[in-house]
C-alpha cells in the first residue's frame, strides 16, 4: 500500500453491485445528543429506503480520535463500501481517509470537514456558521431591547475541535457587536454542571452587568440558566445550539432565548444518497468545492419563541405531545403549538 492521491483509486471499485453492501456511519461524540438521536436513525432510514439489503455500521467515537481510527479500521475489516465520517479531529481524520482510499473505499466527510487530506465528498452545515448565527441572533436581540452591559461566552469542551469552530464563530459575531465580552469559559467535557458553576461565579462578579450569555450548546445553556435561577437573579437572554427538546421547552417557557435547528434530516439524507451512489460505483459531483472536496452545504435555522412553532413543530421535527408536558403546556398554548 502507500498513499494514494485524492482522486486516485476512488470510484472505481464495486462496479455497481450495491446488493448487501455495508456502509459505515462514524459519528464523533456523545456530548451532543443529536448523533444518536437524529443523524443515525435518519441516515439509516434513508439508506434502507435506497437499498433495502444494505447494512449501516454505526459507530460513535465518544470524543476520542484514536477510537475513531480504530472504528474505521474495523469497518474496513468488515468490507464496507463507503465510509461516512464526522471526524472527532478534522486533522487526525486524514489517516482514516488515507487508509480507506488505499483500499478503494470512498470517504464522505459529514458535518465537519477534513481539510488536509481531501475526502471524496463533503456534506455539511458548518459549525463556525452556527456559532456566528447564534451569537448574531443574540446580539441583534440585545440591541433591539437596548440592553446594557456585557456578554458571557460559554464555549464547548477545550479538547473538542468542533467546539473550537463554534467558539470562533461566536467571536466573529460578539467581538464587533459593541457589547463587551465580560468573560469566556471553555467548558470541560461540555458539562452543564461546570457551566453552571462558572456562570454562578460570574454572577457574583458582574451581577447586573450581564446582558446576555452565548452558550455553545443547549446543555451548557441550560446550566447557565440554572445558575441565574439558583442565584435568584433574572435570567438574561441565553443561547443554545442543537435544538434538544429540553431546550425547546425552555424556549417555550421563556427561560432560553434561542437555539439552532440544523436541517439534520436533509443533511443525513443527502449523505445517505451520496453514499449510495458511491456504493453503486458512481462518482457524484458536488454543488461546490470546499477544501478540494466536492461539497454540499446546508444552512441551519436559528429558533426563537417567534419561529419555534413553525421550525420545530409544524415541520414535524418535534411532537407537541412530547414537549408540551406539565408546566410547558401553558406556553405551548400561548404560542399555538399543537
Amino acid at each position: 500500500s502507500g498513499s494514494t492521491g485524492a482522486d486516485g483509486g476512488t470510484g472505481g471499485s464495486g462496479g455497481g453491485s450495491a446488493e448487501n453492501a455495508k456502509v459505515a456511519f462514524l459519528m464523533p461524540d456523545l456530548a451532543s445528543t443529536r448523533y444518536e438521536l437524529a443523524d443515525k436513525p435518519l441516515f439509516e432510514a434513508k439508506m434502507k429506503q435506497l437499498c433495502p439489503s444494505c447494512t449501516v455500521i454505526y459507530q460513535n467515537a465518544d470524543s476520542d480520535a484514536s477510537k475513531q481510527q480504530q472504528q474505521a479500521n474495523s469497518a474496513l475489516a468488515q468490507g464496507v463500501k463507503a465510509i461516512v465520517i464526522d471526524p472527532v479531529d478534522s486533522a487526525a481524520a486524514a489517516t482514516i481517509v488515507k487508509s480507506a482510499q488505499a483500499q478503494n473505499v470512498p470517504v464522505i466527510a459529514y458535518d465537519r470537514p477534513i481539510p488536509t487530506t481531501p475526502a471524496d465528498y463533503y456534506v455539511s452545515f458548518d459549525n463556525e456558521k452556527i456559532g456566528s448565527m447564534i451569537g448574531q441572533s443574540l446580539v441583534d436581540h440585545l440591541k433591539k431591547e437596548n440592553a446594557e452591559g456585557g456578554i458571557l461566552q460559554v464555549n464547548g469542551s477545550p479538547t473538542d475541535a468542533a467546539a473550537g469552530l463554534i467558539k470562533k464563530g461566536i467571536h466573529s459575531a460578539v467581538d464587533p457587536s459593541g457589547f463587551k465580552l465580560l468573560a469566556e469559559y471553555d467548558t470541560p467535557d461540555w458539562s452543564p454542571e461546570k457551566a453552571q458553576g462558572w456562570v454562578s461565579g460570574q454572577i457574583t462578579k458582574f451581577r447586573d452587568q450581564i446582558a446576555g450569555v452565548v452558550a455553545a450548546n443547549d446543555g451548557t445553556g441550560g446550566g447557565s440558566i440554572a445558575a441565574f435561577k439558583a442565584a435568584d437573579v433574572k435570567v438574561p437572554p441565553v443561547t443554545g445550539n442543537d435544538a434538544e427538546s429540553a431546550a425547546a421547552q425552555r424556549i417555550i417557557s421563556g427561560d432560553q432565548y434561542n437555539t439552532i435547528s440544523k436541517p439534520i434530516k436533509t443533511v443525513a439524507e443527502a449523505a445517505a444518497d451520496v453514499a449510495y451512489r458511491f456504493v453503486r460505483g458512481e462518482k457524484p459531483a458536488g454543488k461546490t468545492t470546499l477544501y478540494d472536496t466536492p461539497s454540499e452545504l446546508f444552512t441551519p435555522t436559528v429558533v426563537t419563541r417567534e419561529n419555534i412553532n413553525e421550525v420545530l413543530f409544524q415541520s414535524g421535527i418535534m411532537k407537541a405531545s412530547e414537549v408540551c408536558t406539565g408546566e410547558y403546556a401553558k406556553g405551548c398554548a400561548e404560542l399555538g403549538i399543537k
Partner: protein
C-alpha cells in the same frame, strides 16, 4: 505514684498534664508528633483561601461563599460514600455513572411518568442501593477486585443512563417543583441558623460534660469543664460568624444543611457504633476482623450499598441544582473529584484510616479551588495548570504533617 491518679494515667512514662495549660502543651506535643487530625487540612484550606482572595477579591465575598457551599453539596455527598468504601480498602469508580443514572431515573419517573417526587427519589435510591448490592455479591463471591467491578459498572450504568434518558437526551426538572426549589432557592431563616449554631455548641458541651462525668465516675481521666467550655465557645463563635457572614446575602442553604447533617450522621455511625468499628477493622486488617468473628461479607455489602446510595443522593441533588438530568450528568470528573475529596480529607486509599469530616473538608478544598479559578478569567490551558498546582499545594501541608507522624512511628 499517688493513688489519686486516674486509672489511665498511672504509667510513670506518661508526661501528665492537667487543665488548660496542659491541653495547650498537649496540642504542641501532638503537632510535633504529627498527630493533628484535620488541622493541617484546615491550614491548607486557609492558605488556599488567602491566595485566591488575593487573586480575586470577590472570592471571599458572601455571595460566592454561599455558592460554594451549595455547589459542594452534591459531590460532597458522593465523597461521603467514597470515604466508606475507601475505609474498607476498596474503591468505587462508578459513583459518577450511578449518580447520573439516578438523576435520569428521577427525572423520567418524576417528569415523564408523573410520580410524586418522594416516590421518584425513593426509586432512584433503591435502584442504586441494589447496584451496590450486586457489586458486593460479585466482590464477596468471586473476589473480583472492586476496581474492575466498578469499572465495569461505570461503563454499564453510563449505558443505562443513556438508555433511560432515551430519545430526549435531556430532561428538564420544573423550576417550580419542590425539589429544584430546595436545591436552588431554599435558605435557612437567619434566626433558625443562629439557633442551630447555639444548639450545636450546647450539644457539644452537654455531651462532652456527660461523658467526662461518666469517665470520672469510672476513675478515668477526663477533660476538665473549662476545656469543654472553651471548645464549645470556640465552636459557637465560628458557627455564629459563618451564619452571620453568609447571612449578609442569602444565608445558609438547606442543601448544605442536608450535606452537613449527612456528614454528622456518618460521623456518628463510623465512630460510635459497632458497625463503624467493623468498617475500620476490615479496612485495617480484614483477616484479623474475620478472626474476631465479624461478618466481613456483610460489612462489604453494607459499605458498597451505602456508597451507591450516597451516589444516588448526590446525583439527585446535582440534578435538582441543575434543574435537569442529561447525558453528561455524572460524567467527567465527578468520580475523580469525589475520590480526591476523600483522599484530601485524609482518607487512606489502603483502608482503615479516614473520617466523615474529611469528606466535608476535602470537598470544600476542591470546590474552593474550582470556584476560585472559575472567577479568574484564564485560558483553559492555564486554568488546568493552575488547578493542578493549587490542588497539590493544598495537600502538601497535610502531607508534611502526616509524614512527621510516620517518622514519629505512628502508623
Amino acid at each position: 505514684m499517688t493513688t489519686t491518679l486516674a486509672t489511665d494515667r498511672q504509667d510513670e512514662r506518661l508526661q501528665s498534664r492537667e487543665g488548660l495549660r496542659g491541653a495547650i502543651t498537649d496540642v504542641i506535643e501532638r503537632a510535633r508528633g504529627g498527630d493533628l487530625g484535620v488541622i493541617p487540612v484546615v491550614v491548607g484550606l486557609v492558605v488556599i483561601w488567602a491566595v485566591l482572595q488575593v487573586l480575586n477579591p470577590v472570592f471571599l465575598s458572601s455571595t460566592n461563599l454561599v455558592n460554594l457551599t451549595l455547589e459542594s453539596a452534591a459531590v460532597g455527598v458522593i465523597a461521603l460514600g467514597i470515604v466508606c468504601v475507601l475505609l474498607v480498602g476498596e474503591i468505587d469508580l462508578s459513583v459518577g455513572s450511578v449518580s447520573g443514572l439516578s438523576g435520569a431515573v428521577l427525572a423520567v419517573l418524576f417528569v415523564d411518568k408523573g410520580l410524586p417526587v418522594w416516590a421518584a427519589i425513593l426509586a432512584a435510591v433503591a435502584l442504586s442501593a441494589a447496584i451496590g448490592w450486586v457489586y458486593a455479591q460479585l466482590f464477596n463471591r468471586f473476589g473480583v477486585p472492586s476496581f474492575v467491578i466498578t469499572l465495569a459498572g461505570l461503563l454499564a450504568f453510563l449505558g443505562l443512563q443513556l438508555y433511560v434518558l432515551g430519545t430526549k437526551g435531556s430532561i428538564n426538572l420544573p423550576f417550580d417543583s419542590a425539589l429544584v426549589n430546595f436545591a436552588q432557592l431554599a435558605f435557612v431563616p437567619q434566626w433558625l441558623s443562629y439557633t442551630f449554631a447555639v444548639v450545636a455548641a450546647a450539644g457539644l458541651f452537654a455531651s462532652g460534660h456527660l461523658h467526662a462525668r461518666e469517665r470520672r465516675r469510672a476513675g478515668l481521666s477526663a477533660r476538665t469543664t473549662s476545656m469543654l467550655a472553651v471548645r464549645s465557645i470556640a465552636l459557637l463563635a465560628v458557627l455564629t460568624f459563618v451564619v452571620w457572614y453568609l447571612g449578609q446575602t442569602r444565608g445558609v442553604g438547606w442543601m448544605f444543611v442536608l450535606f452537613v447533617a449527612m456528614v454528622l450522621v456518618m460521623h456518628y455511625l463510623l465512630s460510635r457504633t459497632k458497625w463503624g468499628r467493623s468498617v475500620y477493622a476490615v479496612g485495617g486488617n480484614v483477616e484479623a476482623a474475620r478472626r474476631a468473628g465479624i461478618n466481613v461479607r456483610a460489612v462489604y455489602t453494607s459499605v458498597f450499598m451505602l456508597c451507591s446510595s450516597f451516589a444516588a443522593v448526590g446525583g439527585i441533588l446535582a440534578a435538582a441544582r441543575l434543574a435537569a438530568a442529561n447525558q453528561s450528568s455524572g460524567a467527567g470528573d465527578v468520580n475523580l473529584n469525589a475520590i480526591a475529596a476523600a483522599v484530601i480529607g485524609g482518607t487512606s486509599l489502603f483502608g482503615g484510616r479516614g473520617t466523615a469530616f474529611g469528606a466535608l473538608l476535602g470537598m470544600i478544598v476542591i470546590q474552593s479551588i474550582s470556584s476560585g479559578l472559575t472567577l479568574l478569567n484564564l485560558d483553559s490551558s492555564i486554568r488546568f495548570v493552575v488547578t493542578g498546582v493549587v490542588l497539590l499545594l493544598a495537600v502538601v501541608v497535610d502531607s508534611i504533617a502526616r509524614k512527621s507522624r510516620t517518622s514519629h512511628g505512628r502508623a
